[in-house]
Subunit: 348 residues, 4 copies
């Protein structure tokens, strides 16, 4: 089939490739409709590797996807031909130690789309386990369906935070993950989120999404803003979504005694933490990796109206312009959040 292939020499080609998949009894075949471009897709394109994962063979990119079921395996009961769906891109071994304990995303043997050597889904069709394929509610579009994967990162972070209704949140970083994390935190019970960045257009967009207070840390003190709002008590939970190694003070200074920190951003170098400052507040630091058990929850909150991701989809390209979409995403305009590619039309 025709697909967007990243070659080992890091050229991007729209070309024929055979992903070599076969429909098993618990699988479905899905016609892909929409695929979002993630920072990791771009990073493989520009650098050819992420940590130990190196592009050595031609690999189809893309892992944020929605589409339509066009064939179902014999053992599939909860999906049928014509269902509009989105898909969880990691496939674990259900018998692994981690999966048996409900933490399938921590199974080191997970096969994850567009992570070498596993193909992604910028292509017309894919075969996927029905257990990791989720029906879209009628009022959720394909474009929104393709946003479930990044939103799931925010949802998982919000779940890790063990929010008590009415908590005050801080989100460090107003990139796509910071934004979906703020939305998930609010839908998950927070009454307000402070969000930080140094790019004002991102902060302006964030502030338009709900009870979100932007703090431009180029000139403002986050600690001061939070303490003024809370009579000096502090925020209940802080989500680190910037990936920066320079946020150590913002992780702990605005936090209340007994508060929680959720580490979502993945800094490329070690971070220096003054442990004693965390101990003086008995901060709990949760670290988050992808997500588990949240796709259906993200869809439910989208469908109810509690989360609206549409303002985050800022640009859409047709499938045949996929290389142009990547070129656009490598150096995006300041107001770009999420770029998507429309692979095909709905099939029913």
């Amino acid at each position: 089939m025709q697909a967007l292939v990243l070659e080992p020499d890091l050229k991007l080609n729209m070309r024929e490739i055979d992903p070599g998949e076969r429909l098993g009894p618990r699988d479905v075949r899905i016609a892909i409709h929409t695929v979002g471009i993630c920072g990791s897709d771009v990073h493989y394109y520009t650098h050819g590797r992420i940590g130990p994962f190196v592009v050595r063979e031609p690999m189809i990119l893309g892992h944020e996807a929605a589409g339509t079921v066009i064939e179902v395996g014999d053992g599939v009961t909860h999906l049928e031909r014509g269902d509009r769906v989105c898909m969880e891109p990691g496939i674990p071994d259900p018998s692994s130690q981690a999966a048996r304990r409900g933490m399938y995303h921590l199974d080191p043997s997970v096969r994850f789309w567009a992570t070498p050597p596993v193909h992604g889904v910028l292509r017309p069709e894919v075969i996927h386990p029905a257990d990791y394929t989720f029906k879209l509610p009628d009022n959720v579009s394909f474009a929104e369906g393709a946003m479930v994967e990044p939103l799931a990162v925010g949802m998982h972070a919000a779940a890790k935070a063990q929010i008590t209704p009415g908590d005050l949140a801080v989100v460090l970083g107003a990139g796509p993950i910071g934004m979906v994390t703020a939305l998930a935190a609010l839908a998950g019970g927070c009454s307000r989120a402070f969000i930080t960045d140094v790019q004002q257009p991102k902060l302006d967009l964030a502030a338009s999404l709900g009870p979100i207070t932007p703090v431009n840390v180029a000139g403002q003190s986050l600690r001061q803003a939070v303490m003024d709002t809370t009579d000096g008590w502090g925020a209940d939970v802080i989500f680190e979504c910037s990936g920066s190694i320079h946020v150590a003070n913002d992780l702990i200074e605005p936090l209340r005694p007994g508060g929680r920190i959720v580490y979502v951003g993945m800094p490329v170098e070690p971070v220096q933490l003054d442990i004693v400052a965390f101990q003086a507040k008995e901060a709990r630091i949760e670290t988050a990796f992808r997500y588990a058990h949240v796709f259906d929850r993200a869809l439910a909150l989208m469908s109810s109206g509690a989360i609206d991701v549409k303002p985050l989809i800022t640009t859409t390209f047709p499938f045949e312009q996929s290389p142009a979409a990547f070129a656009h995403t490598v150096q995006p305009p300041a107001d770009t959040v999420k770029v998507q590619i429309e692979v095909g039309a709905s099939v029913a």
Copy 2:
């Protein structure tokens, strides 16, 4: 001062009474603006007792209140004259075993407004500890401020439920507490709430408040409705708010394996539970009593727009018609939810 007094012979009088209060260093004096009528006020009026609490001396009624600070004790730092506030009606001993562990509402020595022999607040003024007095945000009215007390019951129940973002909730009973519990559950992270009752007007009102699905259990099966929506898996959390002793099946049949039940309603007789049915799903039953640490959280969610209690305030009486307000509430029209009394105008 002039107050609404319930006499030991269960007559209601607007008359002079001296509550005998003195401003301590950590207290504030509050001019009362709005007071809501609670089921317990009505019950003392109609029955003269609730459990061990018997009306033996004249007692001022009312404990859902908002007003304006008109005097502050020397040791009060976070409030000042003119602040618009609402008040937590229970005053614990901060040195009790329960209070020291953060569960001040479970301290048996709590003094609670309008619970014999403690006076309530249907009167022009009250003196109250500043620690249990909460400033209203600018966009929260006195009428809404007087709703914080009943909302706090729902907020506390939602906190007990340990909601994971996107949970599906069921609320048994669409009375005032069922309604605020549904609102708190949604603001606290649930994606949808099913609510049950046998009075259709209450269900219709509930359905207008958000992603709330009414189930008239006079004719519909709650279990069926939930299982149809969840592919046979069940609801994540069930809030019992009816107080009925006939809801045992509705407590467990719609629940998912590993789900939680929060018991808010207070049935007057023992309830028969088929424990084995609960064990087969390893249901957790949390029991809730009033609230703790939630007034500020309720205000934050009101102020952010996540919770709107205004549709629940269905009737308002002036102070001098307080006896009429009680007469109205004893036999309310079918569409009545909350009746309030305006005691006085704001004082600044």
Copy 3:
């Protein structure tokens, strides 16, 4: 093979039967050494059914077992021929909704030994999934290994209790499950357990097992005993292990505010609970069903010396006297706790 077969007419026969098993790639074949007799085995023998599970075909009894691995499937890596092991008797579908969330024991499709129509293990050999087969530490005997299954019930209850180190526990009922629950609670962090019963020999045995205070509720008040010890505060956790429907007061009266109740016993009829009494303390009621993820933990605590189950094994019969062992267990002497059958010698 020769096995202890319960016939549909409820006769017990030692006779030839073919369980019809085949070694799969992730399975092991185990030579059975020791099997304990459980109350459920006896109940099938005396009544022919438990709830919906009816003995319609000949069924081998027994599910508390230890033995030696004598053959391993191609895909098994953590076990080898000669390993001494014990086995978890329930086999779930790892792809079920419950199993994927780590609650495999709540999967309704679990196949459980000696639960009709699934054969038990009072026979020389069984084939079992390696994932549910656990290696015995060198200092754990086969007899102790066959105690892991009942101990697992207590371990799971202790895990549900979310013990804080130093908690005070109450265990209602000094039968085998009450005893293992007390041992698990103490090994799991409790400083002391009160245990109740009306049979003094059981209480005497329990008191010899560790810091366990017996309370003969035929003449003593449990509430009084606990309140005297705790300055009127109450116990942190109460384990119901009697299965009686007459323990409602003992469930709540000795409990501290904010305490937890774990329901392990399975009463045959509904239990009447005064919900308001539970609410006044905000008691949490956890219900427990079998166990999950605890066999290795039980073995670790046995091996470290923290739990010693040997005093609970009061009688042992040879395999050929299995019918006599059941006759003995139906009407046991007052000091009987656990009866075991030695099926075979170790094979290496």
Copy 4:
């Protein structure tokens, strides 16, 4: 009274001093019997400060204490003259935000013995709030009572770890805090603790205290030792008790997916953490500061026999040799764990 006074010039004097205390209605007067020397006492002696706390006025040292009640305030009900007791050295404001939420130890206004400018208890008598004074069980000696304070640090860490019965623990550092943490972890439900150090005598002592496996990280790999024991899965919880900034790898490499880290040691400089390694396992990092609500729990576990601190008390000095005791503790022999001073005889 005669006391051990640290002068602003860091001289230690046994001399007369008036601590200027007055018995309040909820206080008790205690004749001090035994006081342990803590690392912080030594640090004030050798450096004159810890962080922002500077010795500017003469200060009595010592905060690990046990003694006998010799006078009680009018409002004290649970203690009486002659009671043998130990004392929690930090006195919070019960009305602070933190204390009202049950976290009184995180109240910044806590007054803590032997932390400038608050006097410690190396003196014949002290007046203390009865709420923070705990009766010793009959089988707990004064020497053991004076060990409750350091043990409480380990108990609090064990509570933070949310141990599931049978967990495998790792303790980094075999100093006094590492040892009490290992004891608390085992009493709190762990089946085994690995403990690390580079001083073999400390490891040998630790190994004699229970199911504790010593790992001399001068020559052995902790990761290897843990992975060999757990089939490559890892430890459930890791307690950092060394205070070293060079343990980053030992914090995460031996941990299982979904495991917990409790940070007890207080490193004097920032620690470099490779966040991504923690995320790949979704490690939770809890930070611990002193303790709250654990003195009675520590005593209960001592009294039951679950924790024996006597082997940790390696040297005892008489009161008049207090300066010599400090000299000994500044440069202790390799097998020294805890040095205590006997201030006085029991008074009844």
